[in-house]
């Protein structure tokens, strides 16, 4: 509280006068020699005390009236921070940022956070607006700014802990956006969290508007103590025992942040059943490795979980993963009936090297290719052969439309003889052969390193295409709906692609052997062929698990949809997205790997299931999602550092809602506290008058 005219407070010194008089009178008590105390001694002493008390009341009334009178003249007023509720200077816009990362599930943190959020709502006055923002990896406004505080409280009650990690920047940026659109003069942020270190990056450039008051509520109180399954690895051992069956060894790393060693039973579950259990002891503030016995890789994608007993933070006590069956990419290379010697050798040999992925290459002369040979192929290579016609051609087109890839190296073939259906699908219009044998040959000069085919070569010293010489290649005319992935040094397209249904058709302007180019003899040939085959065959590294908060792009995870290609190829007429992704909680999302609905957010921990059009529930492709293990690091930072980083003191041009912008006289004039003090003083004086008159009458 401040005073406009504090000099009047000197009047409070007058309060000492009656007290001094009382004390002085007590000290200088008059001595009266009286003839006899006979009658005085008969008066009961109790009545003396009662009357004394009444006079003390009188003294108190007079003193209080004096205090109120002096206070009224001193013109007091309250500054904005001393006021709660509806402001003197306007209503408040309060944004409540509620951390719902999975670390908030530790102990009773979440309950305390909800209570704090509701308390922040109840603290508001009627005119104030509140908004609830739930955040973990990102932030979402759960309500619109509203004066309906009950609705905000209900939203708090309905909120639950997520499986995601913590990031403060998105929440604070959202709060800043909310304030930017607010017309209320006062802005407040209440941040309720456990303030984990991992959530705040000092490089995050977030600033709240000047004058914003930020309050933090720390629900943690201290670093957590618990165990977690921090990591699981699956090492595949192909045909280790010579029985043609791959085996996988599951290993898990457990962490213990407690101050004491802990002994726990670690369980490996496969396909929903306990496969093995081990008892291990994790040292205090340390980790321990657990290795399970090798197990045969199931024929189909199988769910796996490494689990420890539930503790204070249950989310990281289980780690989910999937074990996929053989993920080899099946490649069919179709070469002419009278192929050149080693026409497909370089390609086949390059694809045969490596096991991530494994390429199962089948080279066949065009006459030996049947529709059965196309079954299950991820990539078909037409090595200087024309696309087949008839049923075989149709089957091939269907396979491509279902998601397989088609790599065409036309050589010197003339596309005019090709079936019209194929000509329509080609990504280019084939031109004449460009002969550069008279020179040193052309080179791949312009490469799109952002393209998945050449991403691997983006880093320096990852592959030099300038060493390869291309002596002959076809001139290509590229329509607008095709994409040029690489060009020769003369600008002519070298590698062009075009989508065909859910698959891709990629055309290489030169040959795949050393007939027209020495590219197959260069070190970059092998990785280029691998990347090209993976891209065209829509292969992506099979992920044993995802992290909550990841976005699943089915267009880039062919291993997840490979089981449904046949069904997808058949079902091309319905307009609905053909695949269903069901979350652990039962929420279903329709997805189309080749359409616009190919993205899905994986927000829940556990196993999602991707099912085809006719796939029974429980028989789909499992997709494991785990919590962000970085969130298991419960170390904390000082919330004040965050407040200091994102808030700024009101600048010279700050909004008028700031106290500094409003004169004290104006504040006092609006509050008129002096009027109430004066009225109270007058009432007390009237009461004192009545009481003193009564006492005088009773005395006389």
């Amino acid at each position: 509280m401040r005073f406009l005219t504090p000099a009047f407070l000197a009047g409070l010194a007058a309060l000492a006068i009656p007290v001094l008089i009382h004390l002085i009178n007590r000290e200088r008590r008059v001595v009266v020699q009286f003839p006899s105390l006979m009658f005085l001694q008969k008066i009961p002493y109790k009545s003396v005390r009662r009357q004394k008390l009444r006079h003390l009341l009188l003294l108190a009334l007079r003193c209080l009236a004096l205090v109120l009178l002096v206070g009224a003249f001193a013109r007091p007023f309250l500054e904005r921070r001393a006021l709660g509720g509806a402001a003197l200077l306007g209503a408040r816009e309060r944004v409540i940022l509620l951390d719902r990362s999975y670390s908030m599930g530790y102990g009773d943190h979440w309950k305390r956070a909800q209570d704090a959020a509701k308390a922040a709502v109840r603290d508001l006055a009627q005119a104030d607006r509140a908004m609830l923002v739930l955040f973990a990896n990102d932030a979402s406004a759960n309500t619109t700014p509203t004066a309906n505080h009950a609705a905000v409280e209900r939203a708090v009650d309905a909120a639950t802990v997520s499986a995601e990690g913590t990031r403060y920047a998105p929440a604070l940026k959202l709060a800043a956006q909310i304030f930017a659109g607010s017309n209320l003069p006062r802005r407040e942020v209440v941040l309720i969290s456990d303030f984990q270190n991992v959530g705040w990056n000092h490089r995050d450039d977030v600033r709240l508007p000047p004058g914003t008051v930020m309050t933090t509520v720390d629900v943690a109180g201290g670093p957590g103590r618990e165990m977690a399954v921090a990591q699981v690895t699956t090492d595949r051992d192909r045909e280790a025992r010579g029985d043609g069956r791959d085996r996988v060894t599951v290993a898990a790393r457990l962490t213990n942040t407690g101050a004491q060693p802990r002994t726990v039973d670690v369980t490996l579950e496969l396909g929903g059943r306990v496969a093995e259990s081990k008892r291990v002891t994790a040292p205090a503030s340390g980790a321990v490795q657990v290795r399970f016995a090798p197990t045969v890789v199931p024929a189909t994608a199988t769910r796996g979980t490494v689990r420890i007993p539930t503790d204070a933070l249950a989310a990281n006590d289980a780690f989910h993963f999937t074990m996929a069956s053989d993920d080899a990419v099946s490649v069919l290379v179709i070469e002419p009936a009278r192929a050149r010697a080693n026409q497909s050798l370089f390609l086949a040999r390059a694809l045969a090297i490596g096991d991530r992925p494994t390429f199962r290459v089948d080279v066949r002369p065009v006459g030996a290719v049947t529709t059965a040979a196309l079954a299950g192929r991820s990539l078909v290579v037409l090595n200087e052969v024309a696309p087949p016609a008839g049923a075989l051609g149709q089957r091939l087109r269907d396979l491509v439309a279902a998601g397989a890839g088609l790599l065409i190296a036309p050589g010197d073939l003339r596309a005019e003889t090709w079936p019209a259906e194929w000509r329509a699908l080609l990504p280019v219009r084939l031109g004449a052969v460009v002969d550069r044998t008279g020179t040193a040959g052309g080179t791949l000069a312009s490469v799109n390193y952002g393209h998945p085919v050449f991403e691997l070569f983006a880093a320096p010293h990852s592959g030099d295409f300038s060493t390869a010489h291309l002596f002959r290649y076809r001139a290509l005319t590229v329509p607008l709906d095709s994409g040029v992935i690489a060009r020769f040094d003369d600008g002519a397209p070298a590698l062009v692609e075009r989508a065909a249904g859910q698959g891709k058709i990629v055309l290489w302007a030169s040959t795949l052997d050393a007939y027209w180019t020495d590219l197959p003899l260069q070190p970059v040939f092998l990785p280029l062929v691998h990347e090209l085959a993976k891209y065209a065959g829509r292969y992506s590294d099979a992920r044993a698990w995802f992290t909550a908060g990841d976005v699943l792009d089915l267009s880039r995870h062919g291993e997840l949809t490979s089981a449904f290609r046949a069904a997808l190829a058949r079902d091309t007429t319905s307009g609905a997205a053909p695949l269903v992704l069901e979350s652990p909680s039962g929420t279903r999302t329709r997805l189309d790997p080749a359409g616009p609905q190919h993205l899905a957010e994986l927000r829940e921990q556990g196993f999602y299931e991707l099912r085809g059009p006719a796939t029974p529930v429980g028989s789909g492709r499992p997709i494991a999602v785990n919590v962000d293990l970085a969130e298991s690091d419960l170390s904390r930072f000082d919330p004040r550092a965050l407040v200091a980083a994102v808030t700024a003191p009101p600048g010279p041009g700050a909004a008028a809602a700031s106290d500094a912008a409003v004169l004290p006289e104006e504040i006092e004039r609006r509050q008129t506290t002096w009027w109430y003090l004066l009225l109270a003083a007058l009432i007390l004086m009237a009461a004192e008058t009545v009481l003193s008159n009564r006492l005088s009458r009773s005395s006389s």
Partner: protein, 334 residues
């Protein structure tokens, strides 16, 4: 005998008279007004003034036989003369410390209760002396201090005794006694030298044994005792056939308790101290005083004792009216 009719007279305020001089003059001046137009005393005595005959009884002095009446009536009668029927007047004055109170502060008056009582006693003595009554004086302060037996020649001694009473310091000889118990609901007094309070009973009892003849006794005191104790003390005198007039003297401050400041009140008799906030106690004090004086008036009336309450701030004339009323009653009895 003819009843004395009181006549309105103007008396000087004792406060004014105090400036004049000796007590005798004061008494003479005060009383002269009564003497004017006063009829002869109804008293009989051994003077030469014949008063009346009465039948001879064996043992009478034969010199008093009226032989002429025997010659006429052949019966023996003796003569009664005026001197034989003069009464005794005894002023009994309380000279205790409480009587020396003369008010307090701005309420202080020029005369104390003792001085006022002395004036009253002197005036009554002088008046009685003019009536050829025998006058005497007894002063007491818990016990008899001075005793002047009633005599026709003792007026001077009475006045001198009154002079000494006023001039003598109060209670120089009495020793402190044990602390008397306080009422249970009263605050304990502070530890100061406490003297026994003066009481009426011992001196009045002794006085009753000293007086052989019937007297008019004017008891002049502030009567700071319970009515029962006062009546017990008076009973000794009254039982001897004395006529008692009680003059209850109180200062105005004792009656109204006009004090305002919180003060330590000291009992002049006992020395007890008591912190008093007058505003708190005034009403109840006045009630107690009124109850006390009313009780005394009732009890004395029942005992056929005259009682008069006097405010020492008022003139002395009213005191004399009380005395004359008493005298009137006495004459009707005869």
């Amino acid at each position: 005998m003819t009843a004395v009719a009181p006549e309105p007279v103007n008396f000087l305020d004792p406060a004014v008279l105090a400036r004049i001089g000796s007590l005798e003059l004061l008494a003479r001046v005060v009383v002269e007004g009564f003497i004017n137009g006063l009829h002869r005393s109804p008293h009989l005595g051994s003077s030469t003034d014949f008063a009346e005959h009465r039948a001879y009884m064996p043992g009478d002095d034969i010199r008093r036989i009226d032989w002429r009446l025997w010659a006429r009536s052949d019966r023996f009668y003796v003569k009664e003369f005026e001197a034989e029927t003069n009464t005794n007047f005894l002023a009994v004055l309380d000279v205790s410390r409480s009587m020396r109170y003369r008010g307090s502060g701005s309420d202080a008056t020029a005369v104390s209760k003792l001085e006022y009582g002395s004036f009253l006693a002197a005036a009554l003595s002088y008046f009685s002396s003019k009536q050829r009554d025998r006058v005497g004086l007894a002063t007491f302060d818990g016990e008899l201090v001075e005793y002047v037996p009633p005599s026709a020649k003792h007026l001077e001694r009475v006045l001198q005794g009154l002079q000494r009473a006023c001039q003598t310091p109060a209670a120089a000889g009495r020793q402190p006694s044990a602390v008397s118990p306080q009422p249970s609901d009263s605050p304990p007094p502070s530890a100061v030298r406490r003297l026994p309070a003066a009481t009426l009973l011992p001196p009045l009892k002794k006085l009753s044994e000293s007086t052989r003849r019937r007297c008019i006794i004017a008891l002049i005191s502030d009567l700071y005792e319970e009515p029962d104790a006062v009546m017990d003390a008076l009973a000794h005198l009254h039982g001897r056939g004395n006529d008692i007039v009680v003059f209850h003297l109180l200062d105005r401050t004792e009656l109204e308790f006009p004090f305002t400041d919180a003060s330590n009140f000291i009992d002049l008799e006992s020395g007890d101290r008591m912190p008093v906030i007058p505003d708190y106690l005034r009403r109840q004090y006045r009630e107690l005083v009124a109850q006390h004086t009313a009780a005394l008036a009732r009890r004395t009336r029942e005992a056929r004792v005259d009682y008069a309450l006097f405010d020492t701030s008022k003139p002395l004339d009213t005191a004399l009216f009380a005395y004359l009323s008493s005298r009137q009653r006495l004459s009707r009895v005869r």
